[in-house]
Point group: C2
Chain length 296, copies 2
């Protein structure tokens, strides 16, 4: 206990809960739902919001898939043939207003027929413009939630987020990080405790993001600020297509492409050698896209 059906049901319920809160915050657009089946076993529910008052494009995806582990994954992990079950929720939201950050959350549970199982996931924030007060609020809220479970979680998982959400070829972080954890494996009682932590993470997502959205969604912005947003979105694309393990896993295992790539932003710009003015707010944001900044 908890068994995979309970975990799956909980993620599905979380999807409903988050979509309702985001729709309320947007005030105009509604999520469009696609239910899909995976040929090899299982399926998912993709929900996408577009052209809202606040959200330009966002996806909240639930899936529960099972079957034989793909050969290329087995080879990479040096494992004998096995079946797997994986369920999770994956979210990326691209707001219209450049002063509102992009957010990402993924929570997942993985189980193999050899008896091993683990949780993984995280939440990270990608502001186009870093507002230090919001960055502190974001990290503080994550730390507070983590500390209720284990005082090691926030420092460990914050560091993992800094290391993971890093665009090596740009030598910059994707955003201000957050928490990231992979393969949390343990005894039955540890699993139960970790599921409670995963639940609290999932439940924190919408109120925390909406508080930051709400504070900035009506802020006026210039064309230049909108352009900077499109350029920063380009970095998001670079991270997702070059480094993101979830995207790579999906593409390698013949996943549902539209659900995997719903994380890509609606409009993006790449300018050759774009360099912000050294004294600009854009440059200030760049200077904060570094690992190991303490926001607490």
């Amino acid at each position: 206990m908890p068994d995979k059906n309970q975990i799956q049901d909980w993620f599905k319920e979380l999807q409903n809960n988050i979509c309702l809160q985001l729709e309320k915050e947007d005030g105009k657009a509604r999520f469009h739902e696609d239910i899909w089946q995976r040929e090899e076993g299982g399926g998912g529910i993709s929900r996408v919001i577009t052209n809202g008052n606040v959200f330009e494009k966002g996806g909240v995806n639930f899936s529960a898939v099972h079957g034989a582990m793909p050969d290329n994954i087995l080879a990479a992990l040096k494992l004998p043939k096995a079946d797997f079950f994986a369920t999770g929720i994956s979210i990326v939201i691209h707001p219209k207003n450049p002063w509102v950050p992009i957010i990402h959350m993924n929570l997942r549970y993985f189980e193999m027929s050899n008896g091993r199982n683990w949780f993984g996931g995280g939440i990270d924030l990608t502001p186009h413009y870093i507002i230090e007060e919001d960055a502190r609020h974001f990290h503080h809220s994550l730390k507070e939630m983590c500390d209720k479970h284990n005082s090691r979680y926030y420092p460990d998982f914050k560091k993992q987020a800094d290391d993971y959400f890093f665009i090596k070829h740009r030598n910059e972080t994707r955003g201000i990080g957050g928490i990231f954890f992979d393969r949390q494996e343990g005894s039955e009682s540890e699993k139960l405790a970790f599921f409670e932590f995963v639940k609290d993470t999932g439940l924190l997502f919408a109120p925390l993001y909406c508080s930051i959205v709400n504070k900035n969604k009506n802020r006026e912005y210039t064309e230049q600020e909108k352009q900077w947003q499109l350029i920063r979105r380009g970095r998001y694309v670079e991270f997702n297509l070059v480094y993101d393990k979830g995207t790579k896993f999906g593409l390698d295992t013949n996943g549902r492409i539209e659900s995997i790539l719903m994380s890509l932003p609606p409009f993006v710009e790449w300018q050759y050698n774009f360099q912000p003015d050294p004294h600009s707010i854009e440059q200030t944001t760049l200077s904060l896209l570094k690992k190991d900044i303490s926001w607490i």
Copy 2:
């Protein structure tokens, strides 16, 4: 003979030659030049054209770099420590008008301190809308040029292009292909002959592309056609960031990022689950993005 300096000089001269022809075709914009040095040895000349009458963003990059082979490449190729020299020209052009195709050419020469050396490269065309007459003209011109050297070249290299410029996760080719060849290694006389083939490929590029540009650059287009272009450019980004070996090599070896990623389009759009009307010209193009179509 030819030695690496002659090859390098020839590529540099080709860069001048191509830029002049493209500027003439554009009629307004000029290439902007950046000369860069590589810390570990060598450097390059990047030339970028933006906001032209015809070309929205294009790069014509020359480089000649040398030094120790990076450890990760040596490990992948299972080779002992060695030095390398690499020179080449790399071009991607994104036109403004959706009826004008994107084009790409890469020609490169690689030499290792263990005495091995080879040529590689190719030209391929990525129309947003496939105009069959232009596709046939493109392939026919490549075949004619290839046939002067070796009657196996066109069929072999056309197949390699189909296999290489393939977006696996979309199950579609990037465009209509062209020719692609990798690691053409041989005796000194074969090397000399292959250099002549590489020269002819390089010299064909600008007149061939300009003939297709010229035919379509003044064609009227709708907002819907422009949007389709932005969506197709998204596929171009997916190919370059997920599959392209040149991009991957550049990112892995700490190359000059702005030169590597100058291939990315200026504006791009990703719509969730975009499906063209089954009877539309967009659908006709999709139906032709398949391997092994004979355009001759």
